[in-house]
């Protein structure tokens, strides 16, 4: 039997004005197990807390009920006070008689009756409370960043800055991501490579950062502070430690007809390649799909020209295993496939390009050396039509995405402006549904494209593009002018919607991090915890969480790093003690709880139990990892045998509350 003390707070007149606190205290004194009741003007004051502490020690109270304001307000205060007096934190219950009683009722008798009932419910719960101790788990002081784009790079640099070891896993042969393919950045028009490559070099030179390029995360186990990760290092067929990146092999390789992925297939490269001049690590990679030596054993030119002897045709994929305390997802984005949009003739004419392809056509390191030329005949385009929202804000899930891709308005303005600046003789049209330019100096940038550079912005969409005699017949509508337009364009640029990288889904599954219907990672709270995944220890950086431009990506990357540092600084983590707990004797091993758990906190083990007549039998039973469980209780309801219960909110406790209220 518990010895319960009940403390009723007046909260000045906040409670006492509508609730007869003395009657409440007196009535609750008749409840079973209650050995002491009192009322006091301010329970949360120092004196009030002291009184609780004194009574705990004086009467040896095993449970405390405080009738006061909302537990969201002072539960922690009272728990701490009781803790100091030697009572377990979780033997304290609050009856909310302010927000949910005195403040919402005017009739004193009614309010007093309700306060008594709420007090009774709290007493009934405390009767069944058990002391809970928060467990701790150690923290591995090392972070993993999945994805080596600008988001991953910034996160890694910031974590390393704080003195923690970071590993970057990047599936491409080099880090850098999409930003390496971009020509200029809005709204300042500085060159993307000029601001990105120093950061890539910083990563390579930072001794706290280890880059696993051309690698993929294969398996993730464990939980916050103690992740266990398997990383597969794909075979480059080049010894990474020996290759000097001189590039001799990439010039001599006879296989010249490989579509250059870095330039989005607008030109070709060799079968052995370094993606671009500033690649990090600057190491050659053999493309096994095209290399003659790997395919049929005839060639070996690269091995002959390599003075360092780095070529190794027999190299195999290797797997490394590492422990991490925190994982950051920075898997990034891709433009969507435009082949669904027949109306824009993307698959029919090489002169209809996506915006990212256009970046390459404008880039000095691109296929045209920075001169804007039509891919079909290499002539300079005189009339260029940009189409915005291609696949964005499109409810047809087969073709596009329902969301706004956010960056297209700005990069289209940038492209249009650069065209007019480099080639003032070109006519540039931009067709838009809305121009969305929130951001520092963004709208000014777009207005500059219109006012200073004379780009024709036309409200309305392009209906169709038909290639005809080397021209692209564009049919569009100017909605503000209520006119149909027919433009003979030389080039059409489609601002393709962006979507999360295809690998994000499998990464999320491995991390048990949740995703929305568009495959963007969900944040723990859309406003207040935007860089954390609901899964403890998993953080989000960059466009894997939602469409973002570079400044926002960098800001989020640093925010994610700050969260990681906050976690890695701790030597151990205190767990929430109100977690699910299975009764192994009742568990029938059905896996229902495992399926509903959003955190992957439940696993099954085969455990030995004592059977009748000194036999043992092995049964499959659920196990909850208290470091991962967040205490939502979904499993407790899913459990058919009633084996799963939630500490602090057990079935019996809630039933007791129900009984007390309905009595």
């Amino acid at each position: 039997m518990q010895k319960i003390g009940v403390f009723v707070c007046h909260c000045g007149t906040n409670i006492a004005a509508t609730v007869d606190v003395e009657t409440v205290a007196k009535t609750l004194g008749k409840e079973p197990g209650v050995v002491f009741t009192t009322d006091y003007p301010y329970m949360c004051s120092q004196t009030g807390q002291q009184m609780i502490q004194d009574k705990i020690q004086e009467l040896g109270l095993t449970g405390v009920v405080i009738c006061s304001c909302s537990p969201r307000m002072h539960e922690q205060t009272f728990r701490k006070a009781c803790h100091k007096a030697g009572l377990n934190d979780y033997m304290v219950e609050i009856a909310n008689i302010r927000e949910q009683c005195s403040w919402i009722h005017k009739d004193k008798q009614e309010a007093t009756e309700k306060a008594v009932i709420l007090g009774r419910a709290a007493i009934a719960k405390v009767q069944l409370n058990a002391p809970l101790t928060a467990g701790t788990s150690p923290v591995t002081k090392r972070a993993l960043v999945i994805g080596g784009g600008i988001a991953g790079i910034q996160t890694a640099l910031d974590i390393a800055e704080a003195g923690f070891e970071v590993d970057i896993v990047e599936k491409q042969p080099t880090i850098g991501g999409k930003m390496t393919q971009i020509d200029k950045t809005f709204p300042t028009l500085d060159c993307a490579a000029c601001i990105l490559t120093p950061k890539m070099v910083d990563c390579a030179q930072n001794e706290k950062i280890h880059i696993y390029a051309y690698s993929e995360v294969e398996q993730v186990g464990g939980f916050v502070g103690n992740f266990h990760v398997k990383i597969r290092r794909k075979a480059r067929f080049v010894n990474e430690d020996v290759c000097t990146g001189c590039g001799a092999c990439t010039e001599k390789c006879p296989q010249k007809k490989v579509p250059n992925a870095f330039n989005l297939g607008l030109d070709t490269r060799r079968a052995i390649y370094i993606p671009f001049a500033q690649a990090v690590p600057k190491v050659a990679t053999i493309d096994p799909d095209y290399c003659n030596m790997l395919k049929n054993g005839k060639c070996g030119v690269c091995a002959k020209v390599c003075t360092a002897g780095a070529i190794d045709y027999k190299q195999k994929d290797t797997t490394i295993e590492r422990e991490y305390g925190a994982i950051v997802a920075a898997t990034g984005f891709n433009p969507i496939d435009l082949s669904q949009f027949d109306e824009f003739a993307y698959s029919k004419s090489p002169d209809v390009v996506s915006s990212l392809e256009f970046e390459r056509l404008m880039n000095a390191a691109g296929p045209t050396g920075g001169t804007l030329l039509r891919p079909s005949d290499g002539t300079h385009p005189k009339t260029i039509v940009f189409v915005q929202c291609v696949g964005s804000r499109c409810e047809d899930a087969q073709k596009g995405k329902s969301y706004c891709s956010k960056i297209c308005c700005m990069y289209t303005a940038k492209h249009a402006m650069l065209c007019r600046e480099k080639y003032p003789d070109t006519d540039v049209y931009v067709f838009y549904i809305d121009v969305r330019t929130p951001g520092k100096n963004f709208d000014e940038f777009y207005r500059r494209a219109v006012e200073e550079y004379g780009v024709h912005y036309i409200k309305g969409m392009v209906g169709k593009v038909v290639p005809e005699n080397g021209k692209l017949k564009v049919q569009a509508s100017d909605l503000l002018d209520n006119r149909q337009l027919h433009i003979d364009a030389d080039m059409v640029v489609l601002a393709a919607a962006i979507e999360p990288d295809k690998s994000a889904r499998s990464v999320a599954t491995m991390l048990t991090a949740s995703m929305d219907t568009n495959d963007f990672f969900t944040e723990a709270h859309p406003k207040l915890r935007p860089v954390e995944s609901p899964t403890a220890g998993v953080f989000l950086s960059g466009t894997c969480q939602g469409p973002k431009d570079i400044p926002e990506t960098v800001a989020q990357a640093s925010a994610a790093a700050a969260k990681v540092i906050g976690l890695l600084c701790k030597d151990s983590l205190t767990c929430n003690p109100c977690v699910a707990e299975p009764n192994e004797l009742m568990c029938n091993g059905c896996s229902n709880c495992e399926k509903v758990c959003p955190y992957g906190a439940i696993t099954y083990i085969d455990k030995e139990f004592r059977g009748p007549n000194r036999t043992t039998l092995i049964r499959r039973v659920a196990q909850v990892n208290p470091a991962v469980c967040q205490g939502c209780g979904a499993c407790t309801v899913a459990c058919m045998s009633g084996a799963m219960d939630l500490k602090g909110f057990s079935n019996k406790q809630i039933m007791a509350e129900v009984d007390a209220i309905c009595r």
């Binding site: 207005r447 219109v450 006012e451 409200k459 100017d478 503000l480 002018d481």
Partner: protein, 127 residues
């Protein structure tokens, strides 16, 4: 010709047409809205798109009261009223224009036409 007219109108009004961002506040402010064939925001886009002839022929340009509400309220300082004034001015300037050129005459000659009519036409349209 139209490009010329566009430039002329833009120049004499002093309006930078590119500044317009099609918000429609000018039209929303216009007290003569119901009486107008084209509305202030349309004036701006029509001049910009070279639809000058339609504008010159429109009665709408005379229903503008020149109250300058649009000028006052435009968030981008486009000043549509000045543009309308410039269009009106362009119409007035057109009135004194030569409609016949000497080199066009031979093609227009008709045997039935009295010589006197030709001479008086020259007189009339001479500057």
């Amino acid at each position: 010709m139209e490009q010329n007219m566009m430039d002329t109108i833009a120049r004499i009004s002093g309006v930078n047409l590119r500044r317009c961002m099609r918000c429609g506040k000018c039209t929303a402010s216009c007290p003569a809205f119901d009486e107008m064939e084209y509305h202030p925001h349309q004036f701006v886009s029509m001049v910009e798109n070279g639809r000058i002839d339609e504008l010159l022929a429109s009665q709408g340009i005379y229903t503008c009261l020149s109250c300058f509400a649009c000028v006052e309220r435009c968030p981008r300082n486009v000043e549509p009223a000045k543009l309308i004034e410039a269009v009106r001015l362009a119409v007035i300037r057109k009135q004194g224009e030569n409609h016949l050129h000497a080199e066009q005459i031979p093609a227009m000659l008709d045997d039935e036409l009295p010589q006197q009519a030709i001479v008086s036409a020259f007189r009339k349209y001479k500057r």
